[in-house]
């Protein structure tokens, strides 16, 4: 147990170092881009004094090394600065948008993994049949299809042509949710979530399906499964009680990793569906040359990915006593 805590402390320390490197890269990447980042926000009628005030307001009048020290110091205090575009703190803006990304990710991930596990089991059981071949091809196609294309197809078919689902946002035109609870309990919200969620689901289900199928092949060759077959147990009981329970271990850890990696899909899906989450905020920040917000969004995504990596590692050692940290 003390070994486990030592491992966790070591990994947390490594995470901090990696985050510091990422923060440094982000800082220099945006500041070394050509031009004045405030050109988009300086009115041509501003005189030099007014421009200097604006530069001072955003801390851009100081030397680069000073800006860097302030930036790293602020990050430790969870202060990511002020958005050029909104004039609000980056943290406030990300706090508003992060829940939408989490709802989309968690909904799609859970659905994808439940589906992937069962479908992977089925494919393994039907090994060698036409069903398995078709299932494999379908899974690979859905996994490799570009997400923006899948998103646009679903949008055109289900929203514009069939008018079954809304095309953008989290609510109907005249509705503004008072709080997150009202949002989550509103059928309107789930209707809006469906298409972006389905798009992400189509992409995500590929990994657990193929992983589960592959793990099942490994497990089904084990002696205890053969023993269960010889004892005359039913097909379903062998599949679920004996084989799947052992094959599922790597799936559990990939779920944790999946939260991190699905962030990459969210950027595209959120922009196609105008889903107001972290991914859309990130793209808008880059387009608007809103460097503090872009930095903050990138950094938050990095934190989530590293954190979920750590959870995945710990989870695996908890689920499988044969694996020690």
């Amino acid at each position: 147990m003390s070994g486990k805590w030592t491992y966790i402390r070591k990994r947390l320390f490594q995470m901090i170092i990696i985050l510091w490197i990422i923060a440094t890269i982000l800082f220099f990447m945006f500041r070394l881009m050509p031009g004045n980042p405030l050109v988009a926000y300086i009115e041509p009628t501003f005189d030099k004094e007014q421009q200097d005030i604006l530069m001072k307001q955003f801390g851009l009048d100081k030397p680069l090394y000073y800006q860097y020290i302030v930036y790293i110091g602020n990050l430790f205090r969870c202060n990511m600065g002020v958005s050029f575009f909104y004039g609000d703190t980056v943290l406030n803006i990300l706090k508003r948008n992060l829940p939408n990304t989490l709802y989309l990710t968690i909904f799609s991930l859970i659905a994808a993994y439940i589906f992937g596990i069962f479908f992977g089991i089925l494919l393994a059981w039907k090994r060698g049949t036409k069903f398995e071949k078709a299932g494999n091809i379908g899974t690979i196609i859905t996994r490799s299809a570009p997400q923006f294309w899948v998103a646009m197809v679903l949008l055109v078919v289900f929203s514009f042509k069939l008018k079954l689902f809304p095309s953008s946002g989290t609510s109907n035109a005249g509705v503004i949710y008072a709080n997150e609870l009202q949002k989550l309990t509103s059928p309107d919200f789930w209707k809006h979530l469906f298409l972006p969620g389905l798009t992400l689901f189509i992409y995500l289900q590929g990994l657990p399906t193929l992983l589960m199928r592959s793990n099942m092949f490994d497990v089904m060759g084990e002696a205890y499964v053969e023993m269960a077959k010889m004892r005359g147990l039913s097909k379903w009981r062998i599949m679920f009680k004996y084989a799947a329970r052992n094959a599922i271990l790597p799936i559990a850890t990939s779920l944790a990793l999946g939260i991190g990696t699905s962030m990459e899909g969210n950027v595209i899906i959120e922009n196609v569906f105008s889903w107001p989450g972290l991914g859309k905020t990130l793209v808008d920040a880059v387009v608007n040359k809103d460097y503090p917000l872009a930095q903050g969004a990138f950094f938050l995504i990095a934190v989530i990915m590293l954190f979920m990596n750590l959870i995945a590692d710990i989870l695996y050692s908890v689920l499988d006593p044969r694996v020690s940290v």
């Binding site: 009628t45 030099k48 005030i53 909104y86 514009f160 035109a173 905020t281 387009v287």
Partner: protein, 562 residues
């Protein structure tokens, strides 16, 4: 030994010749005009500007000019052109649509008067004392017909001097759903199109849907009476905050929050406010609010974006609760448009404490960006209901306004995906397409196929052009500028690049401002033949390789900086 010496000699000669040819492309000491970088935004940022610039570069090459297309992202381009005025040669540029540009003052004076050449809108550095006189005169000529003659004269001078290459005025396309709205209630303003204040007030819903649902590409930044936010912020601010005057459907200013605006002299006007106006928190609108709203940018540094609009004001005197007298420093023909119709009336009881808190600090009112009901209190025809970041803004009709809108709500949906937006207007998720950055011909196709949609196109008052740096040779020579203007095929640009959704222009004044536009301009547009004639007459020549040479006695002394 001999062989080695010969090889060395050849190498040295080749090196010398190469060095000479490299030097001749920069500051050569010869008559060959140096390489001219033509700057534009990249294709991904502005495809039309990029393609237009390619056509200009080809046109310049046909004259023997060594022109080269250089792309820069906007953050760098804006910086270079605005703050390094001695460095660049020629750049693509455009002026956007702002209602105050319906008055010619902004373009005629701010863009071309010599006083703004150092750090203002005259970034091309055009200096002409004769022009300055005309621009100054029109600025203070109150008589409309006399002013018209001066504005036309100014355009004549510009058409002759060609300080910038006029190109075109883009057309704006708007679409609305005819099953939702009565077409007769949509108001088309010259220069602005149907997306204007009067449409928002008068548009009449005829079906079950009682709200106007429009779109914006960009999220709302700040709806603030002391800050010029983004485009969508401007729409909302116009509806939440009243103005003393408004530009009518004919684009001319008329009293609005004011019962009357009376000019007692060329520099003094008496404003009598309506007495039936109140802010949405119940507090009555009085002369104190108007005085406060104008004095914040005038007397403090807390509203820098609005300062230029009040810069002509000398004093504001409150006579009684509903009467003000504004004295100007000098007569200003555009005052009603650029100030009285522009400045929002902010509630003093809400904003004065905020201004006081900022005293002594470098922060301005532009840092007040929160979109909240308690702050966004105005007296306008709509009141702010709520904002969902990156998603929508909702406003509802103010039933206590003297001009109650016919719709119940004004809802703006944020969607940066143009394909999705096109689908939304077809499916009815939005019923008024207010911003479309995609292919105009595709939009027209979809509208024609839909049956329940109507498209309204208008030539905008914004302009696309190329600014030539009049400070740097050869652009300091009128003949050279006229030759470039002659060889640039503006109609081809409209046909090829804009697919017909723009109008070629020979002036900074948009063709649909019919009262101000001079239609008798002798702008050079005779193609390559005319361009070559202009250059020959000015003493330019071509060498054996077809390269354009300065007139005899003049050599290239500058170098390309990009």
């Amino acid at each position: 030994m001999k062989k080695i010496f010969s090889i060395l000699l050849v190498v040295v000669v080749v090196a010398m010749l190469t060095t000479l040819s490299v030097c001749s492309s920069s500051s050569s000491g010869s008559r060959v005009i140096r390489k001219i970088p033509v700057i534009t935004e990249p294709q991904t940022e502005d495809a039309c500007q990029f393609e237009t610039t390619k056509l200009l570069v080809d046109a310049m090459k046909s004259l023997g000019i060594n022109a080269e297309l250089i792309t820069m992202p906007w953050t760098k381009l804006g910086d270079e052109i605005w703050f390094n005025r001695d460095k660049w040669d020629i750049t693509a540029w455009s002026f956007g649509i702002r209602p105050e540009r319906l008055d010619p003052q902004e373009f005629i004076f701010n863009v071309f008067h010599s006083s703004t050449a150092k750090d203002g809108y005259n970034f091309e550095g055009y200096i002409n004392p004769e022009y300055d006189k005309v621009a100054e005169e029109q600025r203070k000529t109150i008589d409309k017909n006399k002013r018209q003659a001066l504005v036309k004269k100014a355009q004549e001078i510009l058409a002759n001097d060609v300080p910038i290459l006029f190109c075109n005025n883009p057309m704006q396309q708007f679409v609305y759903n005819t099953e939702v709205f009565d077409s007769n209630s949509v108001v088309d303003m010259p220069g602005l199109g149907i997306l204007n204040y009067w449409t928002f007030i008068n548009i009449n819903p005829i079906g079950n849907v009682k709200d106007i649902i429009l779109n914006s590409v960009e999220d709302f930044k700040a709806i603030n009476p002391f800050y010029l936010g983004g485009i969508a912020d401007g729409w909302a601010a116009e509806l939440i905050f009243d103005r003393v005057m408004r530009l009518g459907a004919d684009s001319l200013p008329k009293p609005y929050a004011a019962k009357s605006v009376e000019w007692t002299s060329d520099t003094e006007c008496k404003i009598v406010l309506r007495q039936d106006m109140a802010f949405t928190d119940g507090v009555k609108v009085t002369a104190d609010d108007v005085k406060f709203s104008y004095e914040v940018p005038l007397l403090t540094d807390k509203s820098p974006a609005f300062k230029p609009f009040v810069s002509d004001i000398d004093t504001i005197q409150k006579v009684d609760d509903y009467t003000l007298i504004i004295k100007l420093k000098q007569p200003s023909a555009s005052f009603e448009t650029s100030c009285l119709s522009k400045m929002p009336i902010a509630p003093k009881h809400i904003w004065e404490p905020i201004v006081k808190k900022l005293e002594g600090k470098t922060d301005t009112l532009e840092t007040i960006t929160r979109l909240d009901k308690n702050l966004l209190v105005g007296s306008g025809p709509f009141k702010f209901v709520g904002w969902q970041q990156n998603e929508k803004v909702i406003m509802e009709a103010n039933k206590n306004h003297f001009e109650v809108p016919k719709v119940d709500k004004w809802i703006c949906i944020i969607n940066g995906n143009m394909e999705s937006t096109l689908g939304m207007i077809q499916s009815g998720d939005i019923n008024f397409l207010s911003q479309f950055m995609g292919d105009g011909s595709l939009l027209k196709e979809k509208v024609d196929a839909a049956g329940n949609l109507k498209m309204a196109s208008t030539t905008s008052i914004g302009a696309n052009f190329f600014a030539m740096n009049n400070r740097r040779a050869p652009f300091d020579d009128v003949a050279f500028r006229r030759a470039i203007a002659a060889v640039l095929d503006r109609q081809a640009i409209v046909d090829i690049v804009w697919k017909g959704f723009a109008v070629p222009n020979d002036s900074i004044i948009s063709p649909n401002l019919t009262f101000w536009k001079n239609t008798d301009l002798k702008y050079p547009s005779g193609g390559l033949k005319e361009a070559k004639k202009i250059l020959k007459d000015a003493g330019y020549e071509w060498d054996k390789e077809g390269r354009l040479l300065y007139p005899k006695g003049k050599i290239e002394t500058l170098k390309s900086n990009y």
